[in-house]
Amino acid sequence: MTDVRDTDMMGAEVLDESLWKIRMRLLWRSFKRNWALFSQSKMGVVGVVIVGFFGFLAILHPILMATAWKGQEAIYDPVIGADSVIVEKTVVTEVTDPSTEMSFTEAMITGEFFPEEGMIIEVPIAPAPPNAKHLLGTDPFGRDIFSQLMFGARAAFILGVIAATSAVVLATVVGSVAAYYGGWMDTWLMRQADLILLLPLLPLLIVIGSFWEIGLWQLGILIGILSGLGATAIILKSQALSVKVKPFNDAARVAGGGNRHIIVRHIIPNVLPLSFLFMMFEVTGAIFLEATLSFFGLLSIPMSWGIMINTSHTQGYTLFGLRAWWLLFPAGLAVTLFAAGFFLIGRAMDVVVNPRLRTR
Amino acid sequence: MTQTVSRDTPMLEVRNLVMNYGTKDGMVSAVEDVSFTLARGDSLGLVGESGCGKTSIALSLIRLLPDNAVVKQGEVILDGENMLELSPEEMRMRRWDDISMVFQGAMNSWNPVYRVGDQIREAIDIHWDEKPTVREANAKIAELFELVGIDPSMMERYPHEFSGGMKQRAVIAMALSCDPKIIIADEPTTALDVIVQEQVLEELRQIQHDLGMSIIYISHDIAVIAEITNHIGVMYAGKLVEYGPTVDVFARPRHPYSWLLLSSTPSVTGPRMKLAPLEGEPPNLLDPPSGCRFHPRCPFATDRCVAEEPPMEDIVEGHRLACWNHDQVPTTAKETE
């Protein structure tokens, strides 16, 4: 928090070096200091690793599509691709192992000919278990799960960034304005925040999702607005309030700084660290909402982790559990881990931002 | 071990108490070889700059130190019995019964969700030999409230309905509720505004006089100590540097630190000249100065002070201090007026 002030004071001295160089160096120094604090929390580092892993997956997808899977969009595209893995099965009277054997009736339906005992026929299966061609198998429509997983990571990042950025930008402005001006402006903004906090968010979004076509961007901005005017605004306002009473604001005012100048140059920079912290929690919330709405099939998103779960659920694989683990586990774990990653980062950042929480 | 405790054994005797706090940067030497006695019905003031270890001593006496604190050495003998040897459960039963405390932040000493009377009764229920009925306990609380100047009906009220001064008085009433042998008052008036401070001090002195109990009064404000105690201990950086009858120490502080402390505070009894200001900061107790801990700030310091630690010695009967060059210290400021 003090770093911003450092920059200003140093800037006034203007040594031989140019101003931005000094700023960069100070920034780097404060980054190193904060990282040292942050990395004290093992959980926080775990969070960074998790998020990094998903970042890698998200980048990997377009690369794979352009190299290894080039020209094979029909197979590997997460949405319109389809591939059925061919399995050879022996026709038997009594089926003991469904993965290598099949009954006469089944053979008749799939084979379009009259089967005989002991005959080996080739059957396409979807969902197919993991194999060399599809590392994580295919979904009930024959689409590659690994490809969907990577594509979903990208969707998750896009949504997270939109929601978190819009929420925090909005909340920072609202919080700073409410704290700085006070009076009716404060009352209005805060009552509004209370109201938003009371709204049953999920049911509301369910209805909105059924009235309009909601895509990733719309959802991100919607979440951003609701949260930025709601809970996040309240928290950032109290932070801004504590910054407002600091002496350098009076100094700035005495020096002839206008309201907007003081808000932009002094209050907002001091609220920023906390804003940044809340972006992490925001991502967690946004991902959960998206995945839940997708799970209900209420969003117009081509593919996401929530849709992957929705597909297996609606296609009746819910109770297959471990027998079709590649349908339920990669997507479910991805949502959980992704959200947990940001949550852990947020908790560890809390220690950096709130000196009160530091250990002795 | 039955011991006949004669009328003139001291109520409390602290011998060579050493207490450290373990931190991740090392040991904080918060109490270093402190010894003093407190006679029956007597009042002792502990004075010194903030952070010199006054609270640490108080907490050692009632054995309520934070987890990272270690009592390295010493004895705390209360009425003939070493408190440091009691089991935790025995010690718990002694707290408040034998030693009660009025705290530094007495404003927040009350649990906000219970009535003040009920919180006092909690102590009574634990410590009275025969557990009284609610009616009996309330009668006692009413009596105590009268004593400290609060309307007895207030015991039905919650802490937030009390003003700061009333809360502090109620704490005093609570401290008296089990007729303790000693009361430790740690900065009891620091958080109050000046007028209320005066009133509370006056009441405290009155009560101590009336009930004839022993009291240890802790403050960073030497003027306050002068008003209500008859013995005084001056602490510096974890060490007791001067101990004696309040009148004597005030009339003639012989330790350079006491002398500076007295001359740099506005006088209790009249205007005083500023002889030498007390400069510098108290030392970091993680790594206290060698020899006499005061030497970096002492105007009389010599090489010997840096190398050797001065022992606590009786200069006059009952007036002890630790300084190599105490004869250099001018006679009191008053005389130079």
Binding site: S210, F211, F288 | -
Partner: protein, 385 residues
């Protein structure tokens, strides 16, 4: 206190009107006029369209439509379902309401009771293996993607172990010759729980005037035991008991699943609230008074740590409702949430909007109750200085 509640009631009423306003704008902003929506539905006669237009006052200016809407909702005049034409919306919703209430109340109460105790003990046993284990478990439960977790629970306990029925509210075979409807039995269950709660409250209220703690405790124990015996006897002799047992059996898995997640959240919250409280001066005072450690933990620390936990409930109402909807959907629990989801899928706008209004109302009532509870728990609010 009465003034406080009155003020809150008024606020909540206002908030509900604001909520209805939002709903009205949603309804109006949606693409197309509502009466156009069911042109394609062959089940609905054309006259119904005119009735609907008249009921909603669609020919009148927007502001009158708005007033009309608010009046309709407040008088439970919600129209007829498109999907189950001509069942009135209010009937559908009133049937679903108790089921949601049950899920919501049981899960909330259980998770708060158990979570608070766990959080309290965990904070007290800081830096022990038990603490670490509980913390890791709670963080996992707290961050797990809830629909996925619910599916796994259903699969594991319902399908793999076969311990519990797979979703649904009751077992039709057992109800084949039942003289009661499911709702009758269910409402009786809720009613008896309510009566028990009121009796327990009454016991505390009447014994609270006994000054001495010993006789007070004795009286309380005796009366509470009487209430408990009364409940047991009532259900033993009641002819409904076998059906009630069937419903109760069906509720175990959904309630447990929903409870687990909130339980984790409450545990985490109570722990940090306890750790804050343990640093307070009055805890130190209690120690100095010689209060035994267990009493310090329960009567001093936990009692105060309860306050922020109660406040947090207000903030988590939205989350609880969201979790409830997911639970109802995955366990086929026919409450308001499932009704809402089905209505949305079937484009049954009257039911969807009605369900939304009901849920919003529930949220406000929950908020009101939490506020009052907080005031009861915190004398700084209850007793004005």
């Amino acid at each position: 206190m009465v003034r406080f509640i009155g003020k809150r009631l008024l606020q909540m009423g206002l908030l509900f009107i604001v909520f209805l306003t939002i709903l009205f704008f949603l309804l109006n902003a949606q693409p197309g006029d509502i009466s156009q929506q069911f042109v394609g539905n062959p089940d609905i006669p054309p006259e119904a369209k005119e009735i609907l237009r008249a009921r909603l006052g669609l020919d009148q200016p927007l502001f009158f439509q708005y007033l009309n809407y608010v009046k309709n909702v407040l008088t439970l005049n919600l129209g007829q379902s498109f999907d189950h034409f001509p069942r009135p919306v209010s009937e559908i919703l009133l049937q679903a309401l108790p089921r949601t209430l049950y899920l919501f109340l049981t899960a909330t109460l259980l998770s708060y009771l158990v979570g608070f105790q766990t959080g309290k003990l965990v904070a007290w046993k800081r830096d022990t293996p038990i603490e670490r284990f509980t913390m890791v478990g709670s963080i996992i439960l707290y961050t797990v993607f809830y629909p996925w977790f619910a599916i796994l629970m259903l699969w594991f306990f319902g399908s793999k172990l076969g311990l519990f029925p797979l979703g649904k509210f009751l077992d039709p075979e057992k109800w084949f010759d039942s003289p009661y409807t499911a709702n009758q039995v269910f409402n009786m269950m809720l009613l008896s729980a309510l009566v028990a709660a009121i009796l327990v409250g009454a016991v505390y209220w009447f014994t609270h005037k006994i000054v001495e703690p010993k006789p007070r405790q004795r009286a309380r124990r005796l009366l509470l035991a009487l209430v408990a015996i009364g409940m047991v006897v009532f259900w033993m002799v009641s002819p409904m008991s076998q059906y009630a047992a069937d419903i109760a059996y069906h509720t175990i898995l959904p309630v447990t699943t929903l409870t687990l997640v909130f339980y984790a959240a409450i545990t985490l919250l109570t722990r940090s609230s306890m750790l804050e409280t343990l640093r307070e001066d009055y805890i130190f005072t209690a120690r100095a008074k010689g209060v035994p450690e267990k009493v310090i933990r329960d009567r001093h620390a936990a009692r105060n740590a309860l306050l922020p936990v109660t406040t947090s409930f207000v903030l988590s109402i939205a989350a609880v409702i969201g979790g409830g909807i997911v639970t109802e959907s995955i366990f086929s629990w026919p409450g308001l949430g499932l009704t809402l989801l089905n209505a949305v899928t079937a484009e049954d706008i009257p039911v969807a909007m009605g369900a939304l209004a009901f849920i919003g109302f529930l949220a406000l009532v929950a908020h009101l109750i939490a506020d009052i509870l907080y005031a009861v728990l915190d004398p700084r609010i209850r007793v004005e200085s």
